[in-house]
């Protein structure tokens, strides 16, 4: 009987993880597409040296930071995957979302400063709650770069 209850709890968590995780992911992607279109004019590159036309621009660092949590369904899915190997697509979409969201937040910041270009963009990724033992983990992605702002002078 106890085993059945445990199984029931597990199934419930799995189902809840799937339903809510999936809904959150879909909603997030919709918002990502929409904002990517909105900030398309703020060009983000990874070149280290600005082209000569920016020589007169002001510059400042902009950063976007995001933390996304794994849901229970993804954890179990990835756990099963880790037994046989292969690409963990459950986590790939999570990372993809986090990276794009971080970029968008950076672009938003650049937009607020009046910039049109961000150069030398870099990413940092780390695990939050990594020391929480076997609890459900979450991940942080930080995107940062140099925003080039047309000088008012």
């Amino acid at each position: 009987m106890e085993a059945l209850i445990q199984l029931g709890i597990f199934t419930f968590l799995l189902l809840a993880g799937f339903v809510f995780g999936r809904r959150a992911e879909k909603k997030h992607y919709r918002s990502i597409f929409e904002r990517e279109d909105r900030f398309r004019h703020i060009v983000v590159t990874n070149e280290k040296v600005p082209s000569p036309e920016f020589i007169q621009h002001d510059f400042t660092m902009v950063a976007g930071n995001v933390v996304i949590s794994v849901d229970y369904f993804k954890v179990v899915s990835a756990g099963l995957r880790s037994l046989v190997g292969g690409r963990i697509s459950a986590y790939e979409s999570l990372l993809d979302r986090a990276r794009r969201e971080a970029l968008l937040r950076m672009q938003e910041q650049a937009h607020a400063r009046g910039a049109q270009t961000v150069i030398n963009t870099k990413f940092e990724t780390s695990r939050v709650s990594g020391n929480a033992g076997q609890g459900i983990g979450s991940m942080e992605v930080l995107a940062y770069g140099t925003a080039l702002i047309p000088s008012r002078a």
Binding site: E36, R40, H41, G79, R81, L83, S93, Q134
Partner: protein
């Protein structure tokens, strides 16, 4: 170099796959579950084959505890209510101290009497088991220890090292020695066929697999694997129960010359709370009805073959007293417990 005027639109489905996550999950789940089931079945069959070769001596050593005359569960089952600390003599008035000490004395006396009753019952049970062992052709290197548990729910089970546990509720539920002997013989047959060590070996192997597979990887996975394992593998299975029932019937026939009264306890259980119903799928034991039928069929068969005196043997005096005593305290609600081991 041409400067980008707009961020390019990157095609979707490269960094993150657009496949439905359930598809991958189902595929993985089925695959992993199938291979695990295969592995577990293989290992448990191996364990079942090999476990009987473990010397019984080892089993006994496993269940022996140094420095204790008896196993620790004796203490667990017997001490229910320790006497409350006695009032210090000098502090209270002389009269009340005397009254308190008499009640305390009376309490202690009844406890001692109960203890003696239990000892007597346990001795009687032990004697019954010893005489049954001869009829059941138990190998000489095996020995049994019967333990009487305080539990009012009727139950009996056998574990490693020939330890057999009988609850007081079981004594209350039987009216003849034959019925009690059937249950005891059934548990002895488990030990004879080395079922406890087989179940333990399977359980240990399963635990090993779970640890290996889980290996620090998600509690979730561990939990669910463990639970499904426990559901099916840790107790005796139905074949074991049937085998033990058959051996018990043979032993009883040898011992009493007939099987009359053997089915009493199972009939009683059946009458009180029926069969498991939907839970039957998860039960390790054959349906109670099936067991009663098997015994009555045997009785009928034997009645046509030979005519012997088919007298029920009354319970031993040492058991009767405790039975009468425990019957008072037993109400029907205890019969409806889910877990049964006999």
């Amino acid at each position: 170099m041409i400067r980008l005027m707009q961020n390019p639109r990157i095609p979707e489905g490269i960094n993150a796959s657009e496949e439905h996550p359930l598809k991958e999950f189902a595929l993985l789940f089925v695959g992993v579950a199938l291979s695990l089931v295969l592995l577990v079945v293989m290992l448990s069959v191996t364990a079942q084959q090999l476990a009987p070769y473990i010397p019984f001596r080892w089993e006994q050593q496993l269940t022996q505890f140094d420095g204790l005359k008896d196993a620790p569960w004796e203490d667990l089952s017997t001490d229910r209510d320790e006497p409350i600390a006695e009032p210090a003599g000098g502090v209270t008035a002389a009269g009340s101290t005397a009254a308190d000490s008499t009640t305390a004395d009376a309490k202690r006396a009844t406890q001692a009497a109960e203890q003696t009753l239990k000892q007597q019952a346990q001795t009687s049970l032990q004697a019954l088991v010893t005489s049954l062992a001869v009829s059941m052709a138990i190998p000489s290197e095996m020995s049994f220890q019967v333990h009487l548990l305080d539990d009012p729910a009727p139950n009996a089970f056998a574990t490693l090292g020939g330890h057999i546990f009988v609850t007081q509720g079981l004594l209350a539920a039987v009216s003849s020695e034959n019925a009690l002997a059937m249950v005891l013989a059934h548990e002895m047959a488990h030990v004879k066929f080395r079922h406890p060590i087989q179940a333990m070996s399977r359980g240990a192997l399963l635990q090993l697999i779970i640890t290996m597979v889980g290996g620090g990887q998600g509690v979730a996975l561990n939990g669910v694997l463990g639970q499904t394992g426990l559901l099916t593998l840790l107790s005796f299975n139905r074949d074991m129960e049937r085998e033990s029932d058959a051996a018990a019937m043979a032993g009883l026939t040898q011992h009493y010359g007939h099987l009359v009264g053997a089915e009493e306890f199972f009939s009683e259980v059946l009458a009180r709370h029926g069969d498991a119903g939907w839970r039957a799928a998860f039960e390790t034991h054959p349906a109670t009805q099936e067991r009663v039928d098997a015994i009555t069929a045997r009785i009928k068969l034997m009645q046509t073959n030979e005519e012997t005196s088919q007298q029920l043997t009354p319970l031993d005096a040492g058991l009767l007293v405790l039975k009468a005593k425990s019957e008072q305290g037993i109400s029907l609600k205890h019969m409806s417990r889910n877990r049964r081991n006999f």
